[in-house]
């Protein structure tokens, strides 16, 4: 017995299933943040974009009766609010940290605004789990890996696609160039503004989809403060993942486990230690960042060099 949880076979499988579920949530958001940062734009508005996506995802989902349209609606809403950050930070060259935090405020407020009438809504538009035929019968592995919502499989596909676009296409090369040295990329004929806008909007869409995943699957309903700081964990995940698609996925599962642990404990109705388990993902984030920085002391940082730096052509 650890932390009051008895480790039965069903318990462990349940925990691992929840790990993949929370991992999906974090992965979508972190992948979006990574794309934005690859282009040199830090977006600290993740929490706000996720909340907006969550609210819009629920509204579109229950009004149309389709979780797929809900997911899409959340992604579109996330992309639209992210453009405010793009306009301020990329278009006008405002400080990315300040603008991103303002987006957090705005997004959380906007989510509550549109979600106001849906707080106690009993309706549901929830994804059903999809079992991958042939693989879902494998003992243990089948249950943990191959019986999930379509969003989990979609996240894996998006992850692979992101890797491909970033590393194997001209657009990806341009995007990474813009995030390393914008002036050189500009001289090489890449449109800095256009690529950065596109990267921020893509990041916003993924964050919005991540939020919508909360309301169309993981939680299933809308309420205030639904994102509960998980957007911030996704920001840290990008650093943990060293801006690489695969490592971000590993990080998402690791942090997903800590979030899942909490949800399992609630089932066991443990009050006091519950608060400490709740702190776990946040403390783990700090510990992980410290270890990473400690190991990387004498090596060049994997971060895109132009993160946080506004680009104005006439001032290069």
């Amino acid at each position: 017995m650890i932390l009051g949880v008895t480790f039965t076979e069903a318990g462990v499988i349940g925990l691992l299933v929840a790990t993949v579920q929370f991992g999906t949530l974090l992965y979508l958001a972190a992948l979006g943040e990574m794309i934005s940062e690859k282009a040199g734009v830090l977006n600290l508005g993740l929490e706000g974009m996720m909340a907006t996506g969550a609210a819009m995802g629920f509204i579109v989902g229950v009004e149309t009766g389709s979780p797929w349209l809900g997911l899409l609606g959340g992604a579109v809403a996330g992309a639209i609010v992210s453009l405010i950050h793009a306009a301020a930070a990329v278009g006008l060259g405002a400080d990315q940290v300040v603008s991103g935090l303002a987006l957090t405020f705005l997004g959380l407020g906007f989510a509550d605004f549109i979600g106001d009438g849906y707080t106690d809504d009993e309706r549901r538009a929830r994804f059903a789990d999809v079992e991958i035929p042939g693989l879902n019968d494998i003992p243990w592995v089948g249950e943990v890996l191959f019986r999930h919502s379509p969003v989990t499989y979609l996240a894996i596909i998006i992850g692979v696609a992101t890797w491909f676009v970033l590393n194997r296409t001209a657009v990806g090369l341009g995007l990474r160039a813009v995030g390393e040295t914008a002036s050189t990329a500009d001289a090489a004929g890449h449109s800095v503004v256009r690529l950065r806008f596109a990267a921020v909007a893509t990041g916003g869409a993924l964050a919005g989809a991540s939020g919508a995943y909360l309301t169309t699957y993981l939680v299933g309903s809308w309420s205030q403060n639904l994102t509960a700081g998980r957007g911030w964990i996704a920001v840290a995940l990008v650093i943990f993942g060293a801006w690489r698609v695969g490592r971000v996925a590993i990080g998402a599962l690791l942090f997903g486990l800590t979030l899942a642990l909490k949800s399992r404990l609630t089932l066991f109705d443990i009050e006091i230690s519950g608060q400490f388990v709740d702190m776990l993902p946040f403390l783990l984030t700090i510990a992980v960042l410290v270890v990473i920085s400690f190991r990387a002391r004498n090596r060049p940082s994997p971060a895109p060099a132009a993160i946080g730096i506004a680009y104005r052509r006439e001032e290069r």
Binding site: A88, L103, F105, L106, G109, I239, M279
Partner: protein, 358 residues
Amino acid sequence: MKRLVLARRETPTRGGQPLAFLVGLVFALIVGAILLWITGDPVLDVYERMWDRSLGSQNTWSDTFNRAVPLALAGLAVSIAATMGLWNIGAEGQIMFGAIAATFVGRLLPDAPGLVLIVAMLLAAAFGGAIWSFGPAIARSEIGVSEIITTLMLTEVASRLIVYLEQGPWKDPNGFGFPGVTPRPDRAELGTLWERTHIGVLIALAVIIGFAWYLRRSVWGYELRIAGSSEKAAAYAGISVRRKVLGVLLVSGAVAGFAGGIELLTTTSGKLTVQISNGYGFAGIIVAALALMRPSSVAAVALAFGALQVGGQAIQTNPGVSPAVATILQGLVLFGAIGAAVFSTYRLRLVDRQVAES
């Protein structure tokens, strides 16, 4: 073919920032009016109520002043870190831990006279804030861990710590079994100046003036600014950047924690709750940004922002109006001001596409 570009003004417009703030405010109110109109609420009634509740009478001025105190101190905390280019995003958590530390000392000294208790609790709050920023500070100064993420993560930790204290060790024995920390003694309450305006307003003002003056005039402040603008120059001048990073984040945390102490000593319930920080730490970042990270401008911005928040609460009590409009307004002010501020250093010019492309 013509196209619009941003061109740098030869000299930045004078008075650009106050103007930008004003533009931001107007922008926010316009967008807010549109949102209210969409939901079918009486726009003018709501705004009139906002005005009445925040600046309409002496009585409500008190609320605005009181509200400005934590905003100004949090804004000061953020701007102190910013003199070195550091981001203390976790003022929210430092406010909470400051309040925790003050409550702790209050529990240690059950028999101390009021004034001693107040001083001890406020000092404990500042110390607590510094403790809460110590981890991020040392991680940043020694191995370069981004203080943005670590300070923020500790905010989440602090809020859970308070819930733990409410349910467990500090649970009020007279709380009828409900979770909640035992209130501080009544004599540990800051008095009022006039109406409901409490003495914390004067204390905060003194702290802000003190820091603004010290940062500008002292060797420490001077070295901070050098280290903030160029690490190489600082190293050349024999300034230890590491120690400056550590010091400035600790001081920043202390100021935020102090705000938590003032809040604890002025809340009517006298209780430590998760709501003690009430988003002041985050709003303080907006305040600091609007004040262009200048400690001397923080108080004025905090006052205006306090009015906006207190007025925003009036919206929330308006039946049928979504309370979220108040949150949206705060974000919009900043975006409006960001947009407007750019035009104090830049102007739009129409140029030939060929020129723009070359």
